[in-house]
């Protein structure tokens, strides 16, 4: 295993789904059910059984819109406010209307949502206005249940192939070029439609532990989706709106305010006082967190030691079994106990992920990108505050729309020389006798991301980052060296990570204002609604470098009253006072 072999196979399918995590399987299932004659292929660089952000499961839904607990209007309003107004509401509103149907469907798959003693959904309150949190008592079986459905639907599954570039022709999508992660053999897939569900760019910043794979996101989510969309010419929106999360320090896993919050747990400063004013998981909240950490009142902690024993046992049961089960081992190793002391928290490395922010490949309410026939859903698409249920629901939208799209088209022709060029690019590091291994290219890129791109953002630092990234790119293109197919996969990931780092710097420099709290805190600029109440769209320019444009925010579907806007601004002012 792992020796580099020659080989190229070409296959045809109607719909190619890249990414077997959350959005991808749902897209494949929906497309296949809508058009049972369609040939649907689901491809993953890992194994669909356990791939993606929810590899080990998920402890609950953070954004369920269930009749009787929240309305689509209310949800849309809150997400718009949490994203500082930069939000095309149509996609959010459609999600809010249809996600309950997806919950019921997942329930039929065998994924359990918490029910009360009468068998009715037991929704918990986190946000002030609506109630959106629905725990999943057997959340550790999510992937298993999905896999079962894929097998039943006879979806064609291809494991351990990594898509490296999309193919386009005739102004639309034509397929993808993929490489086997254990043999380096190539696979060219001709497809009438391609759905991307490749997850976050989670290996962008370097965790403070210094361990390359100790990231918040599943470390296999290294940003291929963003890089492939970019090179294919699709538009990417608001990439300057980074994802940064409050986490258990060093373990770098979620503190799970959504689990502990409804049970009375909260984030506290060194004095044990609650300090976060903001309701929503947002850049504003992260700014408050950052201020506390930097302002002499830190460290910041997860506080549970005021709760009753019964409550703590329940929290432990949920947090240590589902989503990141090694968390129990971590606390045991450190000798920390929720009953006895507060647990130290920190903020994560930066990344791209619409799961908790608003950046990503630009899509509309049908999950269509700016390239006809190309779709994106889940953490890599720009529907804000997606979370897991958003990945399922928007994945469903992509599958349904793609099933219609393929009815009217044949394969788009593409330039064969693109395949040859891509083979050369991919295999270049295998043709050298020595050089720089991919892990060093990756480490250096990510260390530079931390040094120069992490907010607060400073123009001169970001420009330095761009210079240094150029140097690393030169080293990568001229001197990277790999010895086997596994390292080849890592070299391709290093390339995606560098592309994402370039995009993060370019997008951040373009938006000359501050917005989204810490996510885009540019110290030299104030918020500027007059010039920047818009999306920024990044595309690949004719010179091969990022190009930028502005795109108007679509008229709101759900109006935000002035006093509600005021409430947000008031909160902002108070937060600053609180951070003094």
């Amino acid at each position: 295993m792992d020796e580099i072999q020659d080989g190229l196979t070409q296959i045809d399918c109607d719909i190619l789904v890249i990414g077997g995590g959350t959005a991808g399987p749902m897209a494949a299932l929906k497309a296949k059910r809508k058009n049972p004659n369609a040939n649907v292929v689901l491809l993953d660089k890992a194994n669909v059984k356990r791939s993606g952000a929810i590899s080990m499961g998920m402890d609950g839904l953070n954004n369920s819109v269930i009749p009787g607990y929240a309305t689509p209007e209310q949800y849309t309003k809150e997400i718009t406010i949490a994203n500082d107004g930069i939000c095309d509401q149509a996609a959010v509103y459609r999600y809010a209307q249809e996600c309950y149907g997806i919950i019921q469907e997942l329930d039929e798959f065998g994924i359990r949502f918490q029910k009360d003693q009468n068998g009715e959904y037991d929704v918990k309150k986190v946000h002030h206005i609506g109630t959106y949190v629905l725990p999943m008592p057997n959340g550790d079986t999510v992937k298993k249940a999905l896999y079962r459905q894929l097998r039943k639907a006879r979806i064609q599954i291809v494991n351990r192939y990594m898509a490296t570039r999309l193919l386009t022709g005739e102004g639309r999508i034509a397929g993808a070029i993929c490489v086997n992660t254990r043999t380096a053999e190539f696979l060219v897939v001709r497809a009438k439609a391609v759905i991307m569900g490749l997850g976050a760019a989670g290996r962008l910043g370097l965790p403070t532990s210094g361990y390359l794979y100790g990231t918040y996101e599943n470390a296999s989510n290294s940003g291929e989706g963003y890089a492939m969309a970019y090179h294919a010419g699709a538009g990417l929106a608001n990439l300057e709106c980074y994802q940064i999360n409050p986490l258990i320090k060093d373990y770098n896993g979620p503190a799970c305010a959504y689990v502990a919050g409804p049970m009375g747990g909260y984030t506290a400063n060194a004095k044990g006082e609650r300090f976060i004013e903001c309701d929503y998981w947002s850049g504003q909240m992260m700014q408050e967190f950052f201020d506390e950490l930097q302002g002499g009142k830190g460290p910041v902690y997860l506080k549970l030691n005021h709760l009753a024993e019964e409550t703590i046992s329940e929290i432990e049961r949920v947090l240590h079994i589902v989503e990141r089960p090694t968390r129990g081992h971590f606390h045991a190793g450190r000798g920390t106990d929720y009953r006895k002391q507060m647990i130290e928290m920190h903020i994560s490395e930066i990344g791209f992920c619409s799961g908790h922010s608003a950046s990503g490949v630009f899509v509309d309410e049908h999950a269509r990108t700016t390239i006809p026939g190309l779709y994106a859903a889940g953490d890599m698409a720009n529907v804000p505050h997606n979370y897991m249920l958003g990945a399922f629901t928007n994945g469903a939208f992509a599958g349904l729309d793609a099933a219609d799209f393929i009815a009217d088209v044949d394969f788009a022709s593409f330039d064969q020389s693109e395949v040859v060029a891509e083979q050369e690019r991919v295999l270049a590091p295998t043709k050298r006798d020595d050089g720089i291994p991919p892990n060093q290219i990756e480490y250096k890129t990510r260390r530079l991301v931390n040094d120069y791109l992490q907010p607060p953002k400073v123009t001169a630092k970001m420009e330095l980052a761009q210079q240094r990234f150029e140097e690393v790119r030169e080293d990568m293109e001229q001197g990277m060296y790999v010895r086997d197919a596994h390292e080849l996969m890592r070299s391709l990931e290093a390339s995606s990570i560098l592309d994402c780092a370039d995009m993060a710097a370019a997008a951040s420099l373009y938006r000359t204002e501050s917005r989204w709290g810490l996510y885009h805190n540019r110290v030299e600029y104030e918020r500027d609604d007059e010039n920047w109440f818009c999306h920024t769209i990044l595309t690949k320019g004719d010179d091969g470098k990022p190009a930028h444009s502005k795109k108007a925010v679509q008229p709101y579907v759900v109006e935000i009253a002035d006093d509600e806007k005021d409430a947000y601004y008031n909160q902002r002012v108070d937060a600053t006072v609180a951070a003094e």
Partner: protein, 317 residues
């Protein structure tokens, strides 16, 4: 190049591995049968439940999680009588994953089993299948010596939501085990009847706070005006968790007469409780409570001051 696509092998071919002399190879066959997700695999897995090797039996009990229906349920019921606890535990988990009501056919005849572990698992399995025939055996199981059996029995009854089961649930709220009592109190939430209300009101006087909390919480779901006085009576409960649920339920019931009793609770140094009090005072919007709230407009706890601001706006409106 190895096979590109995941294969859909013939089930009978996969099942041949179950006859391998090596237990490891038989475990492999069980896993492959599970991955097939093909119901044709069920009879083979059912057979593996009686394998000579405990590891194979455990893997088969786990594998049946991927399937449903009476045949699956019957195999799992068999596994509950295994000599190894690991096999029994795996079967018990798989039983709770059944969805198809028809699977209950294999469970119902065994609900007179008196073994604690088996009966707990069988009741947990039948609960979500909502089979009306399970009601009588579940009520009978309320007399079982084991609290875990009695708790699962209450669960079965609560999911069936039958008014006729109220006397049984009522007596379960007097159980000697607190977890049975709190489960029974929560299970009463489906009924808006006077009898259910009375029982919940009695539950507010339970000696254990967990039960009082369950009663106070459930009244937000099914209570009516007749419960307001009783909820007000627990506003000085020694546990803030109970008070918090009572405040929430009073807000839900629109009990504006309780507003002036809730307002002084803003002085209690428990942030979670004060936050809830402020929210409920906003919902009730009684002008006289404004001075109590104003004191905390600049509270050191951001959640409290945010709710206070919101409540004051509601009162002003």
């Amino acid at each position: 190049m190895s096979a590109l696509f995941e294969e859909f092998d013939d089930i009978a071919d996969l099942a041949e591995g179950l006859d391998d002399p090596s237990a490891g190879a038989r475990i492999m066959a069980v896993m492959e049968l599970a991955d097939s997700a093909d119901p044709a695999a069920i009879p083979y897995l059912a057979r593996a439940i009686s394998d000579s090797d405990a590891g194979v039996r455990k893997q088969a009990a786990q594998a049946l999680t991927d399937f449903d229906g009476p045949e699956t349920a019957a195999a799992l019921v068999t596994a509950l009588s295994d000599s190894e606890v690991d096999v029994i535990a795996a079967a018990a988990v798989s039983l709770t994953e059944l969805k198809d009501p028809a699977a209950g056919d294999a469970i119902l005849p065994h609900l007179d089993d008196q073994d604690e572990v088996r009966l707990t698992a069988l009741l947990a399995g039948i609960k979500e299948l909502r089979r009306p025939e399970a009601l009588a055996p579940a009520i009978a199981a309320l007399a079982h010596a084991s609290p875990s059996v009695r708790m699962q029995a209450v669960g079965v009854i609560g999911w069936l939501q039958q008014e006729t089961s109220l006397p049984a649930l009522r007596s379960a709220t007097q159980d000697k085990d607190v977890n049975v009592r709190r489960t029974a109190l929560s299970a009463l939430g489906f009924s808006k009847s006077a009898s259910a209300q009375e029982t919940l009101v009695d539950g507010l006087k339970d000696p254990e706070w967990l039960a009082r909390e369950a009663a106070a919480e459930t009244l937000a779901k099914s209570g009516n005006d007749s419960c307001i006085a009783a909820l007000r009576a627990v506003l000085d409960d020694e546990f803030w968790q109970v008070r918090l649920k009572a405040v929430r339920s009073l807000g839900k019931l629109g009990a504006s007469e309780a507003a002036l009793q809730i307002a002084p609770m803003m002085d209690i140094p428990v942030p979670n409780l004060r936050k809830e009090c402020a929210a409920v005072l906003g919902e009730l919007a009684v002008a006289e409570t404004a001075p109590f709230l104003e004191k905390y407009a600049d509270d050191s706890d951001p959640d409290v001051r945010k709710n206070v601001r919101w409540a004051l706006e509601k009162i002003a409106a």
